[in-house]
């Protein structure tokens, strides 16, 4: 424990000394089992506002389940999810979304037979035209809003260098482009926090560099907090601080990347007892 972080992990305030900002997202004692399998077991951690936090861990550690519990796709058996003081536990995904939390999926879930632009235009909340009668009764207001949404979508496409694909069916994008599209969709919502599930998996190196650069840029310029699951250790080490390590459904360690990668318990969890450096 003494090798881990400058600040004690189990500190109830969860505020590391070097970053005096409060927790934006707090997960408390989250527990979920599927039949006899304990997928998540009393998992607690905080995500600081303005941070790029990584959630890593060996396969089956429960990372994606934690994401699903936070974003409302699964209901926890026990525990709480708190976003900026508001309890999100038990809310449905669209309700979680409306509170400023977006997630992406490990395997991109784009709307395949809609164009890239329409995938983005779908996202903004409270669109007048989403009510059946508004396009009939208030066509001008709907169209004015549509134009504004379209402008915003074009900006986001530009930001994520997807503009040339805007009229392409989303199904026809490459795996990496779909990852970018997922990120783009979250931006359409002006989120406070984005949960990215393996943003770099299956992405070629140049696209990966771009995704990484965009995450840094969005974090710095728009103040968006990121929590990301990633297996690409170099990416995590270079991008994220802090790093939270999950093992067997519970938090094993937390701290700056350099310290976490040297933690013997982390090495053991990854390598099953054989000591050695995690490749960096």
């Amino acid at each position: 424990m003494e090798r881990m972080t400058p600040k004690h992990v189990d500190d109830p305030t969860g505020i590391p000394a070097d970053a005096p900002r409060p927790a934006l997202l707090r997960v408390e004692g989250l527990t979920k089992s599927f039949g006899g399998l304990q997928a998540v077991n009393h998992c607690s951690f905080d995500v600081r506002a303005g941070s790029i936090t990584a959630l890593i861990g060996p396969n089956g550690a429960g990372k994606t389940t934690v994401f699903s519990l936070i974003s409302g796709f699964l209901r926890p058996d026990r525990g709480r999810v708190v976003l900026d003081g508001e309890d999100l536990t038990g809310l449905l995904p669209h309700q979680v979304f409306r509170r400023g939390l977006c997630r992406t999926f490990q395997i991109p879930r784009e709307h395949g037979s809609m164009t890239v632009l329409e995938n983005l235009m779908l996202v903004p909340p409270d669109q007048l035209g989403e009510r059946f009668w508004n396009p009939l009764l208030r066509p001008r207001a709907v169209r004015a809003q549509e134009r504004a949404i379209r402008e915003k979508a074009l900006e986001v496409l530009d930001l994520l260098t997807l503009s040339h694909l805007r009229d392409e069916y989303a199904a026809n994008l490459s795996g990496g482009q779909k990852k970018l599209l997922e990120l783009a969709r979250t931006l359409m919502a002006d989120p406070r926090i984005v949960l990215l599930d393996e943003p770099a998996a299956g992405v070629n190196p140049s696209l990966m560099a771009r995704i990484r650069e965009k995450i840094v840029q969005l974090n710095a310029e728009r103040g968006i907090t990121f929590l990301l699951i990633e297996h690409d250790i170099p990416l995590v080490m270079g991008l994220c601080d802090p790093v939270i390590v999950l093992n067997q459904g519970t938090k094993l360690a937390e701290g700056p990347p350099a310290i976490v990668r040297g933690d013997p318990r982390v090495l053991e969890a990854y390598l099953g007892g054989q000591h050695g450096a995690v490749d960096g």
């Binding site: 796709f73 449905l92 999926f105 879930r109 035209g129 396009p135 379209r150 069916y169």
Partner: protein, 402 residues
């Protein structure tokens, strides 16, 4: 002859004028398109009314009325299946509820000797439009009741629930005599605007206009109904196009494509599905009303799964699921194939008799085989239908700038 043709052409002109106006390019001002379309439509209608022999004309008109009713049903199914992916195989339920509701609302309670033979729960004697509205509301309420609990489940459950509800509705109308005359037909459903073809004429029409329709005899009533039916198709089509080519349609398609992703884009998936289900059902209910006032007498046998559900599905598949024009095209095309197949079977009678003596009597079943083969052909070679889905859902998301 010429006078009657003029009156008939006025009634036939509406759908033709609409098609003509739609065919003109969008950069022509709408007022010019409307006028040109009306002129062209009426001219074609007049020529048709003059040239086509009355017997064939009567057949064409009745064909077009039934085609229009099916087009309304196919448009309703298109909202549910084509855009939202809801697997409703109980179209008959909403169709039947609409038909019987409009019938009960517009007929009067039987009196005198008729009361001994005919029973119905109520008869308000209300005007046609009140019946139409009631039909839509009743079908919508039924959809809420069915969809509320089942739409949250996986789509196969919706299929099971809808097929069950369709049978239930049909059996209720078959057995509950007090409701709508049970196994006997419910008769005397009024024909809207029938005064156009009757002798005193419509009192509310200005005399010069009424005089135009004077040459029409009561047997020409189907021309009037064709105008009403095509007006229904046009209005439903325009309303749906407006709603679909807007964020509403985008959300429907998003839910169809991937519910989890739609939920993560902040859309209340359960609500969207219920909305689409109810809107589709309301349209099917309108189709029911349209059917009832055409048939004048309806009973439970009209709402069996073959005619009221299966054919509508094949129509949508044939025309193009996810495309409203496809739904309408499919309805008319398949109704043409279906009725044409009857002629073919008639023609094939001698051949069938040569194979086996009892085969001609079973000839009608060949139509089913024929439709099944067509369905197979569509699925194998033209899975998107005659006109498939369009790339862009909402009209402001198209590639062009500005």
């Amino acid at each position: 002859m010429g006078d009657a043709a003029l009156a008939k052409s006025l009634l036939l002109a509406l759908p033709l004028a609409f098609l003509a106006a739609r065919a003109l390019p969008a950069r022509v001002p709408w007022i010019a398109r409307a006028l040109l379309g009306a002129a062209a439509g009426w001219a074609v209608a007049f020529v048709v009314a003059l040239v086509v022999p009355p017997g064939q004309m009567a057949y064409l008109v009745s064909f077009a009325i039934v085609g229009s009713i099916y087009a309304v049903l196919a448009l309703g199914l298109n909202v549910q299946w084509g855009y939202t992916g809801l697997f409703n195989i109980g179209i008959a339920a909403f169709f039947a509820i609409g038909a019987f509701t409009s019938a009960l609302v517009t007929t009067s309670m039987p009196t005198g000797a008729a009361a001994a033979f005919s029973q119905q729960a109520f008869g308000l004697g209300a005007p046609f439009l009140a019946g139409v509205v009631a039909a839509g509301v009743a079908a919508g309420v039924l959809a809420l009741l069915v969809g509320g609990p089942t739409l949250r489940l996986r789509e196969d459950y919706l299929a099971i629930a809808t097929i069950g509800i369709a049978e239930l509705v049909r059996l209720v109308f078959q057995n509950e005599r007090w409701l709508a005359n049970g196994p006997q037909p419910l008769r005397g459903i009024p024909q809207p605007l029938a005064c156009l073809v009757r002798d005193p004429g419509c009192g509310w029409l200005p005399p010069p206009l009424a005089a135009l329709f004077d040459p029409l005899a009561p047997r020409d009533y189907p021309y009037v109904y064709l105008a009403i039916a095509t007006l229904f198709v046009i209005v439903v089509y325009l309303v749906l196009e407006r709603a679909i080519r807007s964020p509403w349609g985008r959300v429907l398609r998003a839910v169809r494509e991937d519910e989890a992703a739609a939920a993560m884009a902040g859309k209340d998936v359960a609500r969207v599905r219920l909305q689409a289900f109810v809107v589709g059902a309301v349209i099917m209910g309108l189709g029911g009303a349209l059917y009832a006032h055409y048939m004048i007498a309806i009973d439970y046998t009209h709402f069996d799964a073959l005619y009221a559900t299966f054919l509508v599905w094949v129509m949508l598949m044939l025309g193009g699921s996810g495309n409203n024009r496809g739904a309408i095209l499919g309805a008319f095309a398949l109704w043409g194939v279906w009725t044409g197949a009857a002629f073919l079977v008639d023609l094939a009678r001698p051949v069938l008799a040569a194979i086996s003596s009892d085969l001609p009597a079973r000839g009608p079943y060949l139509r089913l085989l024929f439709i099944a083969l067509l369905m197979l052909f569509i699925l194998l070679y033209r899975p998107k239908g005659l006109i498939g889905e369009e790339r862009f859902v909402s009209r402001d998301s198209q590639g062009r700038d500005g």
